[in-house]
Amino acid sequence: MVKVLLHFSEKIASQPITSQVIIEQGTTINILSARVDQQGGEMLVEIPDEYAEKMIEAFRKKGVKLEIPKLIEVDKDRCFDCGACVSLCPVKVISCGEDDSVVFAEDRCLGSTCGLCVDACPVRAIKLVL
């Protein structure tokens, strides 16, 4: 799966672009998070590897800007397993491990479309990175 962040400008925000691309390309995508209104917005999607190139091209043709999203990076030396971030994570990326360690499953992170945990870390161990 390839994680891609779609940017919809105000001009195209009211068009059913995502549905069109799905129908045209004949494959499904996984929408992880979306924040789109009449002023435009962003959608974080996962596209199956084999369709990635064609789907990305199709979105581009319809005026959608695409980028690889920023994800979180955790500085394990700074983190001291306090847990301030755990209850904030909406997708269970952050959890408490067996030995009470705070565990991050970074690959499922919504990255810059969420970012709720980043400023909640008391020792600034979580960063958004490309």
């Binding site: 001291f80 306090c82 847990g83 301030a84 408490c96 030995d99 400023d119 008391p122 020792v123 600034r124």
Partner: protein, 471 residues
């Protein structure tokens, strides 16, 4: 200990166990360090001083300073503070000191700048006036916005909950009647040996919320257990690792020390209400809290600990190994922590002013009216805010004179297109300070007042509040 009491009973456990070690590693805001700089030449009687741009207070004679954990850097507020200065010094890092003075005949110097490490200091003692709460509440948030508190970031509509303390590992919970803990009790403090020097401020034994005052030599501490921290939009603090050995002198102590998480209760409290007495939503035990999920209003809410449970276990384990290696000897306290004091609220000489006394009727309209009609209302009543309501008087939105001006400039004539629908509101029984913060925080100039029936009962404006201040 817990397992032993359960399998073999209190009697056997009391005979077999000599000491139970406890631990916690949490944010303890009422922490700080006393330092002595030695005298400069010519000497200075410091009036104000800063270390790494964090103001440190000058509580004593010429060159004694107190680094308070929550004092924030003047150049990097909310990011760096007194807690970080203490951590940096403990870590052996060099810090920058700046000081000013008025100058006297015996202390002529008026300015000072130098760099320091812990080795340059005469004394460097952690002196924390309130640490190690016996238990603490679990915090959540009923508001429709994120709030940033000393209990961390709390999501809207009970979106999460946080708690603090290590429950069954919590030092004061294992000796809840303070039979062994008191003045002179030797403890694990920040990775070194320290002492309890008395009860902490706000010590509240009748509410199972005892606290301790502690002292320890920072030069021997380890920054793994003394960590500067910052809570976004709240401020800075210090995480402190504290462990207390509880000698099992009798069966009573064995029984108390075997208390489990499931028997230690606290309250889930709504931090969305910024009052001294915040609404208690339910009782919860530490076993539930540690499960990561609690139920509030029939809904599963994610809950997590702000203090490090892993760190707490490491504190207790480290203390255990010190005792086993004869590197730490237990002391008998010379005076028990008091059990007959209470924690009083503040005496206030001025009464709180509530919105009720300031609120006046709002000029209202319906959603289907024209922009022109709203402009007429604004002029007729000489106001800047028109509250949009439905037929039952429930809030639908707000329109300001600025919105109307903009609509005219852009040629819009439908009210529905210019209404602000996400409206911040207040209540008749809300203190004026709370409403005033809402205005400032969101850069707005009025708040509709919503009564108990959910209907608009009036409005207050920034102007009303400034008039109140001039009274």
């Amino acid at each position: 200990m817990i397992k032993l009491v359960e399998s073999k009973g209190v009697e056997v456990a009391a005979k077999e166990v000599d000491v139970v070690t406890t631990g916690t590693l949490g944010a303890m805001c009422s922490s700080g360090a006393v330092i002595n700089l030695g005298h400069s030449d010519p000497p200075i009687k410091i009036n104000r001083a800063w270390i790494n741009d964090v103001e440190v207070s000058h509580p004593g004679a010429a060159v004694d300073l107190y680094i308070g954990a929550t004092q924030m850097s003047e150049t990097r507020p909310f990011e760096y503070g007194g807690g970080h200065v203490i951590e940096d010094l403990v870590d052996g890092k060099e810090v920058e000191l700046r000081a000013t003075a008025y100058g006297t005949d015996c202390y002529p110097r008026t300015r000072l700048e130098t760099t320091l490490t812990k080795d340059d200091l005469n004394q460097f003692y952690l002196l924390n006036f309130r640490n190690c709460y016996q238990r603490y509440v679990c915090a959540t948030n009923s508001r429709d916005e994120i709030i940033y508190t000393y209990m961390g970031k709390l999501l809207p509509h009970f979106g999460n909950a946080t708690f603090s303390g290590s429950g069954q590992l919590n030092p004061l919970m294992k000796d809840p009647d303070y039979e062994t803990i008191g003045v002179g009790t030797r403890i694990f403090l920040g990775g070194a040996q320290g002492y309890v020097i008395g009860e902490g401020t706000q010590h509240d034994p009748s509410n199972s919320s005892g606290t301790i005052m502690v002292r320890g030599d920072c030069k021997k501490m380890n920054s793994e257990f003394v960590r500067g921290a910052s809570y976004a939009k709240y401020g800075t603090t210090l995480y402190v690792g504290i462990g207390i050995p509880i000698p099992i002198l009798n069966e009573g102590l064995a029984k108390k020390a075997s208390l489990r998480d499931e028997a230690i209760y606290t309250n889930v409290v709504d931090y969305g209400v910024p009052r001294r007495d915040r609404p208690k939503l339910r009782r919860v035990n530490y076993e539930e809290l540690k499960s990561g999920k609690i139920i509030i209003n029939g809904k599963d809410i994610k809950v997590s600990c702000l203090s490090s449970l892993k760190g707490a276990k490491l504190v207790a384990k480290t203390l255990k190994s010190w005792i086993e290696d004869s590197a730490f000897f237990l002391t008998a306290s010379v005076e028990r922590l008091p059990r007959d004091v209470s924690f009083k609220p503040m005496k206030q000489t001025k009464e709180v002013t509530f919105i009720e006394s300031l609120s006046h009727p709002a000029i209202t309209c319906r959603e289907d009216e024209s922009v022109k009609a709203i402009a007429d209302l604004i002029i007729m009543h000489s106001v800047n805010h028109i509250v949009v309501v439905d037929e039952e008087g429930r809030l639908k939105g707000i329109v300001t004179s600025w919105d109307v001006t903009k609509a005219v400039a852009n040629g819009k004539d439908k009210l529905a297109d210019i209404i602000t629908r996400r409206v911040f509101t207040t209540k008749p029984d809300e203190p004026v300070e709370v409403a005033s913060r809402k205005l400032a925080q969101h850069g707005i100039s009025a708040l509709p007042v919503i009564n108990r029936d959910g209907k608009v009962s009036g409005i207050i404006t920034a102007e009303d509040i400034s008039k109140l201040l001039r009274r």
